[in-house]
């Protein structure tokens, strides 16, 4: 590692620890810990939400994918962006009006059932921990590539830092680390985009023309179909992108960090601008990498293309830009995993311990203490699993996390808010159908079973041939919710629909933490 890289790298660590130090002074009670006291502005939350989407997977992954497979690499950008409309139109406002700290809170606004809360919390834990392991394993490999630190040391470093941010600074630190990183990433990408564009004489036509001869794909670089040859599988993948985001717990909890539904909606709209501009810049970065770095060098450094963006920085910007982009990628990883730790800890401390085991009879102090302990627990488990999974191909974990979010969470969120007849049995069967079908189908899919050794977890032919089952599991989630509802005799929840409908549309009785 060069002195320059080391300096920037330590700079990032120092910056985030400073943020944590100041945040810790503001983190006194449960609402500070879980939701930063609900005091974020629309701009701040908009950047934080955008930051969750500008993960290492999108910055390094999409740039690399576009460079390697052209248009097919861009699906992820489109799906992630349109997902914001689902969030804006259907989910964000009712969520803010009904919930307090967690996703399970919102569903519990309608059903007092502990079973419902328990399964909702379990889904949050499963999604967040799967996501975190995928991120940590990816992080370990990336930091090794970027900075030359050993895998185990990288995972441990990221793991320890994320734990420190969360236990001392709670949601305040988690949000501000995310905001800071979002600004750095947008800035870094803008500089790279500018240089790439200048190499094409600021001419879009020239860029699209040049890239048709720059890669072995030739003209097909600009066309769909270079990677995804199975149409149904590709549609299914797109479905998971557009529906999954609105069910991702670590994203949804961000809407509790603002004071009301109006601010929540504004933050989604700001996010669409940040993230939209960012995704457009990934086109320039991907085209730039394909043109100026070259396929061979990208694949040599990492077969998945994850080094395309840093190598582009090195090629067109020199050592400093390379070190800067690497440091920003590191910050990106830190920011995303700390959000995941916080979300998992909230589900455990607030839902499982506070509301289910202790029946809500828990003091602020106990609540925060348990949340901190849970953060450490979640972090330790994830770090151990990530160390154990080093040599595995864990791509299936991200597919699974997004699939469960789309199939188990989204149907239940929508039915809770919009379906009058829906009841707690329906909520339980819906979540179980979505969760189990996602897990089972992914376990049987080519992500896990692959005839080529090393491509999946096991070597062999998959029983289910699609790599993304969302097109089946989302309907299964809805069918579960429907069947559970009509087959049960429970009618007691019907009166709560009126309450949920009234509150979600007027903001009456919104839990605001502004009174301390």
């Amino acid at each position: 590692m060069s002195i320059l890289s080391l300096t920037l790298f330590l700079g990032i660590i120092l910056l985030t620890l400073t943020i944590t130090y100041y945040s810790s002074k503001k983190t006194k009670n449960a609402s500070d810990f879980y939701t930063a006291g609900g005091g974020l502005t629309a701009w701040q939350n908009g950047l934080a939400v955008a930051g969750d989407f500008m993960s290492a997977a999108s910055f390094l992954g999409i740039t690399g994918a576009i460079a390697l497979i052209g248009f097919d690499g861009f699906y992820m950008s489109i799906g992630n962006l349109v997902a914001f409309l689902v969030l804006l139109y259907l989910v964000s406002e009712p969520l803010r009006n009904l919930g307090k700290f967690t996703l399970a809170d919102m569903i519990s606004a309608r059903f007092k059932s502990k079973k419902v809360r328990g399964i909702a919390a379990a889904n949050t834990l499963v999604i967040s921990i799967f996501y975190m392991i995928a991120q940590l394993v990816g992080a370990g490999g990336l930091i090794k590539l970027l900075l030359g630190i050993d895998y185990w040391l990288s995972v441990l470093l990221v793991g320890v830092l994320m734990t420190i941010y969360v236990i001392f600074g709670g949601m305040t630190a988690t949000s501000w680390v995310q905001i800071t990183k979002a600004v750095l990433l947008l800035g870094g990408s803008a500089v790279l985009t500018f240089i790439v564009f200048s190499r094409f004489n600021f001419n879009i036509s020239e860029m699209f023309h040049h890239v048709q001869t720059a890669t072995p794909l030739g003209k097909d670089f600009l066309n769909p179909g270079n990677k995804y040859t199975d149409g149904l599988d590709m549609i299914s993948f797109n479905m998971s992108l557009v529906l999954g985001a609105a069910g991702l717990p670590h994203l949804l909890v961000r809407f509790f960090t603002v004071k009301d539904a109006a601010t929540a909606r504004k933050s989604v709209v700001y996010s669409t601008w940040f993230i939209g501009v960012f995704f457009i810049m990934t086109i320039f970065l991907g085209f730039g990498a394909a043109s100026f770095v070259g396929l061979e060098r990208i694949v040599d450094a990492n077969p998945a293309g994850n080094m395309a963006a840093p190598l582009l920085a090195l090629t067109i910007g020199g050592e400093f830009l390379f070190a800067f982009v690497s440091a920003v990628a590191f910050a990106t990883i830190l920011a995303v995993v700390s959000g995941l730790v916080l979300t998992s800890a909230s589900a455990f401390a607030h839902d499982i311990y506070g509301e289910i085991i202790k029946d809500g009879n828990i003091t602020e102090k106990q609540q925060v203490l348990v949340a901190r302990l849970a953060s450490v627990g979640v972090a330790v488990i994830s770090i151990l699993l990530a160390l154990f999974a080093q040599s595995m191909n864990v791509a299936f974990l991200s597919v699974l996390a997004l699939g469960i979010a789309a199939s188990a969470n989204l149907p239940i969120i929508l039915c809770t808010i919009y379906w009058k007849r829906f009841n707690s049995s329906g909520a339980i069967t819906g979540m179980s159908f979505g969760l189990l079908s996602s897990i089972i189908l992914v376990m049987l899919s080519p992500n896990v079973w692959n005839p080529e050794p090393g491509m999946g977890i096991f070597t062999g032919d998959p029983l289910f041939t699609m790599s993304n089952p969302t097109i089946f599991t989302v309907p299964l989630g809805f069918i579960g919710a429907y069947l559970g509802t009509i087959l049960s005799k429970a009618k007691d929840e019907e009166n709560r629909f009126a309450e949920v409908l009234f509150k979600s549309n007027t903001g009456y009785g919104i839990s605001s933490a502004k009174d301390h």
Binding site: I78, A262, R265, T272
Partner: protein, 117 residues
Amino acid sequence: MESQAKTRHSPSGHDSGNKYRQLIETEEFKELIQRKKAFIVPVTLFFLAFYFVLPILAAYSEVLKGEAFFHITWAWVYALLQFAVVWLGGIVYIKKAAKYDKMAKNILNKYGKELGE
């Protein structure tokens, strides 16, 4: 903080259920829901349909592979149109929502008594 903890755990018994059932039957509330539905449902269906047309065309047709202009293929043009839809969808929603906010505020003002405030 303590005060909200109490509200949240207050028994939401028969009476409070009745209260909300009456409130959602008021003219003002019904109008709010109707207006929201008339806007949100069609727009959501539109952007989801618009979204899924891209992978469907990509999978089962060749139309996206032709050049549109400036050496750019239709696939990218369609993809970027989705960006425009998202940004436009955001702006329109904010405008509409400001009206809903006003209606909701009126409801809360008018029926504050029933809500026990």
